[in-house]
């Protein structure tokens, strides 16, 4: 899928905020990822051309950041906080529950393509630990019941 005119317009809009057009490359990766779910080699090459970078330079950036996916992901991504406050408050049990219910490990996607499960660093909501992000929505004060409800609602 090649970059649409609308995506190129959005990238151009981002580029106005920086004195160097390559500076918008992280934003450009996010824009391309939004409708595709991930960034394929083909999309990476096209974006690199568009930004005046080599594909390897852009891949160096893309693979550095946690939220740029260079492999396909599910329709929803669950980012489970596995940092210290959530760990103290019972994250290990929730992790086991999620893996068991979804039948996947961290870094994997359910066979129906619905969910990808990933760990994420501290979500800055430690007074409501344990917590997770479902796509970009924050859910805190998690219990096994709440996790089941979250998955059931979407599933």
């Amino acid at each position: 899928m090649t970059l649409t005119a609308e995506e190129k317009r959005e990238i151009a809009e981002e580029q106005k905020r920086y004195p160097d057009r390559r500076a918008a490359c992280v934003e450009a990766l996010k824009i391309a990822q939004r409708s595709r779910g991930w960034v394929s080699d083909e999309t990476l090459r096209e974006l690199a051309d568009h930004l005046g970078m080599t594909a390897d330079e852009l891949d160096g950036v893309a693979t550095f950041y946690n939220m740029i996916f260079r492999r396909p992901v599910g329709r929803h991504v669950i980012f489970l906080c596995d940092s210290v406050s959530c760990w103290v408050m019972g994250e290990e049990a929730l992790r086991a529950q999620l893996k068991e219910r979804l039948g996947i490990d961290f870094g994997q996607t359910t066979v129906d393509g619905e969910y990808t499960l990933l760990p994420v660093a501290c979500l800055g909501t430690c007074d409501h630990a344990p917590a997770l992000l479902l796509d970009r929505e924050l859910h805190g004060d998690l219990t096994e019941t709440r996790i089941d409800a979250l998955i059931a609602r979407r599933g």
Partner: protein
């Protein structure tokens, strides 16, 4: 008790809009500065206030600003960056300000930008903070519409453009020079200093990077004056501090208090003490990269100098409590796995050393450790400490490690001698 950073926050969690912020006295400090203060005078005020960076390092803010080249010969544009990449495990204070009082963050940025004569400012905001992104974008649009941003602010000769950059998530982005690489669209690896960012930082131009909470103190200093600002604190370090506590306490949360409140006050009065059935064993005072403190340190004042005196750091001021039913070895393993995963890989000791430490801890936790592992961990703590690595990530990582091996030595030895984790199988 005065809480200048948080007293205007609405109980329903809705962010203050520009009208509410102005009614609460907002943007008076900016008007005052533009009318009465030269940039150098503003910097001198901030220096005299003893404001220290609230991101964790505690560097004196005014001193940082004084290093920026000023006047017509300075290279331009100059930049001001608000570091809103809050990602230090256990830290949840900047979110409160970004989501609840976005105009205070903006006014702080404007004043800092004015002080260093910056023309362009960025909020470097963590990708995961979706709500903060929404509140900040709305507030920025309001500020432009009312003439606080853009060309000739409040009819003065000074102009400032302000943008949001949400990046794509990585702990190291919070490191000042790595953040600059991220903003330039590169891998967020730290840079060598010198040159310091104040002289050659963003696209080779002068830049100052400050944490959200630090910036929020600046309007308070300008509006109240240096003496009144210093009087907010119980110690030599100016102002208030947003402290917090998480773990098995009755009321986890964040509270703005005079700088210098004690750990005991935070734990017992504000967090309500330990939950029933849990006893206090230790505390990491300010985010993952600070040394554990024990019960004997409960009366230590939470300011940069006092916590340093007992061998730890105040860091971000948000405490993580270790209780008697949580395994200290498991907790340190969790911390070291985090640091190993978030190492940017740029320098060898950090890239190779942290996974080694994590594997050693995992073996001990699983009952496969040896007593000689404790010496290995102590040795790695020295080799990954200050002076051996490119940036502060690994030195930060070994702070909780070295202190845990000393404070909880008996727990480590039990794991090794009993060949199991004594905390496993306990009722949670």
């Amino acid at each position: 008790m005065e809480r200048p950073l948080t007293q205007a926050l609405r109980a329903d969690g809705v962010p203050l809009d520009i009208d509410e912020y102005e009614r609460a006295g907002g943007y008076r400090a900016l008007r005052k500065a533009l009318r009465e203060l030269q940039p150098a005078e503003l910097t001198a005020m901030v220096k005299a206030s003893n404001l220290r960076g609230r991101g964790g390092a505690g560097f004196p803010t005014g001193v940082k600003w004084q290093a920026v080249p000023m006047g017509p010969s300075a290279r331009r544009p100059k930049y001001l960056v608000c570091n809103a990449d809050e990602m230090e495990p256990g830290t949840f204070k900047d979110r409160l300000l970004l989501e609840g009082n976005p105009h205070l963050v903006l006014e702080g940025m404007m004043l800092a930008a004015y002080a260093i004569e910056a023309e362009v400012a960025y909020v470097f905001l963590r990708w995961a903070y979706k709500r903060a992104e929404e509140t900040m974008r709305t507030a920025i649009a309001e500020a432009y519409a009312r003439g606080y941003l853009g060309r000739h602010i409040l009819a003065s000769p000074w102009s400032l453009e302000l943008h949001v950059h949400t990046s794509a998530g990585r702990y190291i982005c919070g490191e000042e020079t790595a953040l600059l690489n991220a903003l330039e669209g590169a891998r967020a690896i730290p840079r060598a200093k010198p040159p310091y960012p104040q002289t050659s930082g963003l696209w080779g131009k002068p830049v100052v990077v400050q944490n959200v909470e630090t910036l929020c103190n600046v309007p308070v200093i300008v509006e109240r004056g240096v003496d009144a600002y210093k009087a907010l604190s119980r110690t030599d370090e100016g102002g208030t501090k947003i402290y917090g506590a998480s773990g098995h306490v009755k009321r986890p949360g964040a509270w703005e208090l005079p700088m210098g409140a004690t750990i005991r006050e935070l734990l017992e009065e504000h967090a309500g003490g330990m939950r029933d059935g849990y006893r206090f064993r230790g505390v990491i005072p300010g985010g993952a990269s600070t040394d554990f403190l024990a019960e004997e340190h409960l009366d230590v004042k939470m300011d940069y100098a006092s916590v340093m005196k007992v061998g730890s750091r105040m860091g971000t001021g948000t405490m993580i409590i270790l209780d008697d039913r949580t395994c200290p070895v498991g907790m340190v393993l969790n911390l070291e796995l985090f640091f190993a995963r978030e190492s940017c890989g740029w320098c060898t000791p950090c890239r190779e050393g942290l996974p080694w430490v994590a594997r050693t801890l995992a073996a001990i936790e699983a009952g496969q450790g040896m007593e000689s592992d404790l010496e290995l961990l102590a040795q790695q703590s020295r080799l990954l400490g200050p002076g051996h690595t490119f940036c502060a990530l690994a030195p930060g990582a070994v702070e909780p490690l070295q202190s845990a091996v000393k404070l909880f030595r008996d727990d480590f030895l039990r794991h090794i001698r009993e060949r199991r984790c004594p905390f496993r199988g306990q009722a949670a």
